[in-house]
């Protein structure tokens, strides 16, 4: 699955599903390494790097932040898997569902979407509370929040809340040379 060292630049995507964007902030913390990265990759899809709205074809590497919590997340996850050689589960929300997954504790996990909406929009609301309903505009929540690898096959896991910039760099650098990073030890693996 690891792309061979290319003559042309690698095509890199970063994706933001159900997460707080902290992993992307950590990605931006790469600071001057971003210049080195820009020499070796084309950022073809990213909430912090491009204004592209449609996930492109023939992506080499995708860093995917966030759990899969709504129908938009699910659709994008399935799409990016088809169009990407190497998918990285980027941060604890993608790896474990983490904080977005806490709503799975509601309603015995059967339909936590309904339970969390009722809690937020009805029980805690004043007299005018109402459930959001805008088909096609506001994506519907899935009954359960899932980690990325329960929806699509994942090639590499980068835990952390967020993964530090160093951890991201240590994972990306070997990939740019067509090698797999060594995912061992506290520097690369720690949750939280």
């Amino acid at each position: 699955m690891i792309p061979t060292p290319p003559a042309a630049k690698l095509r890199l995507a970063t994706v933001w599903l159900a997460g707080c964007s902290g992993c992307h902030m950590s990605f931006l913390d790469l600071d001057e390494f971003l210049f080195d990265l820009a020499e070796k990759v084309d950022v073809v899809f990213s909430p912090v790097g491009t204004d592209v709205k449609i996930y492109p074809e023939n992506v080499d590497i995708a860093l995917v932040e966030g759990a899969v919590a709504n129908v938009d997340n699910l659709e994008l996850a399935l799409q990016l898997r088809q169009r990407t050689a190497l998918v990285i589960s980027f941060g604890d929300c993608a790896v474990t569902a983490n904080v977005p997954g806490l709503r799975n504790l509601l309603d015995g996990g059967h339909d936590s979407a309904r339970a969390v909406l009722e809690r937020g929009y009805l029980e805690l609301a004043d007299a005018t509370g109402q459930l959001p309903f805008a088909p096609g505009i506001v994506p519907e929540l899935l009954p359960k929040v899932l980690p990325l690898h329960e929806v699509i096959p994942v090639d590499l896991y980068l835990p952390g809340c967020p993964p530090s910039a160093e951890r991201i760099r240590e994972a990306i650098t070997p990939l740019l040379a067509g090698e797999r990073p060594v995912q061992e030890g506290s520097a690369m693996l720690r949750f939280g």
């Binding site: 604890d92 799975n104 504790l105 980690p147 896991y157 809340c161 949750f191 939280g192």
Partner: protein, 239 residues
């Protein structure tokens, strides 16, 4: 003092008679991981992380509660054991509600450390999201069952060191949980001396001081061994 000699990962070691296999593996610097074990407390083999292979035995044996015997040939890090250990840690994560990012024990958690030790980068088992309660009835401490891994360190330290025996395990199987007193709210258990030893030895964020918020818990796991040495050998740590 009589001594038994055995082989750990091809290395000959000698330990005092009556020593555990865990002590023998440590004499060989084999770094067998443990979660429920704590120096100064009786071993219970609850976590199963210290399982080792002993030649001639068809079963894997918990090193903490198996006596070292003359001539044993022990293997501590075979591919099978490594795989089982990682699987065990994944199952511990999956069966509770462990969310490191928002846990009092973040950065000081033995379960979080253990995930690194066994190379767990994700859980292959779906998280179960069990419905568990939080007991915040004690004026100083809180018990969050969501983070409990049933290591029983709290049960043992309260019984064996403090002598109050506030804690026990209630129910069975997946319903197992720590109970205070006769399954009462912790704050109503008169036997509790509020010494805090259970909080100090808890490996995760299950027991914590009320003043601790995310990543603020500071465990003290050396206490039981210190107190036991002091009482039984009249020897304090700094003497």
């Amino acid at each position: 003092m009589s001594v038994v000699t055995l082989t750990v990962n091809g290395q000959d070691v000698a330990v005092p008679a009556g020593a555990s296999l865990l002590e023998a593996t440590r004499a060989a610097e084999a770094n067998v991981p443990t979660l429920c074990h704590l120096e100064g407390l009786t071993p219970v083999s609850a976590c199963r992380l210290c399982l080792v292979e002993v030649e001639g035995s068809s079963k894997l044996l918990p090193a903490c509660s198996t006596a070292a015997a003359e001539g044993m040939v022990v293997h501590t890090h075979t591919p099978r054991l490594r795989e089982y250990r990682r699987m065990t840690v994944e199952l511990i994560f999956a069966e509770g509600n462990h969310v490191c990012a928002v846990c009092v024990a973040n950065t000081h958690c033995e379960l979080q450390d253990m995930a690194v030790t066994v190379g767990m980068d994700h859980s292959r088992f779906p998280y179960q999201y069990p419905q568990r309660l939080v007991d915040a009835t004690h004026p100083q401490f809180t018990l969050d069952h969501n983070r409990c891994i049933l290591c029983t360190r709290c049960v043992r330290v309260c019984d064996e060191i403090e002598g109050a025996h506030v804690w026990d395990i209630g129910s069975r199987g997946g319903q197992c949980h720590i109970v205070a007193g006769l399954d009462e709210p912790w704050g109503q258990v008169q036997a509790c001396t509020s010494c805090g030893k259970c909080v100090d030895v808890c490996p995760t964020g299950a027991l914590f001081r009320n003043s601790d918020t995310t990543a603020e818990k500071q465990p003290n796991t050396t206490l039981p061994a210190l107190l036991r040495t002091a009482r039984e050998q009249r020897r304090w740590h700094n003497q």
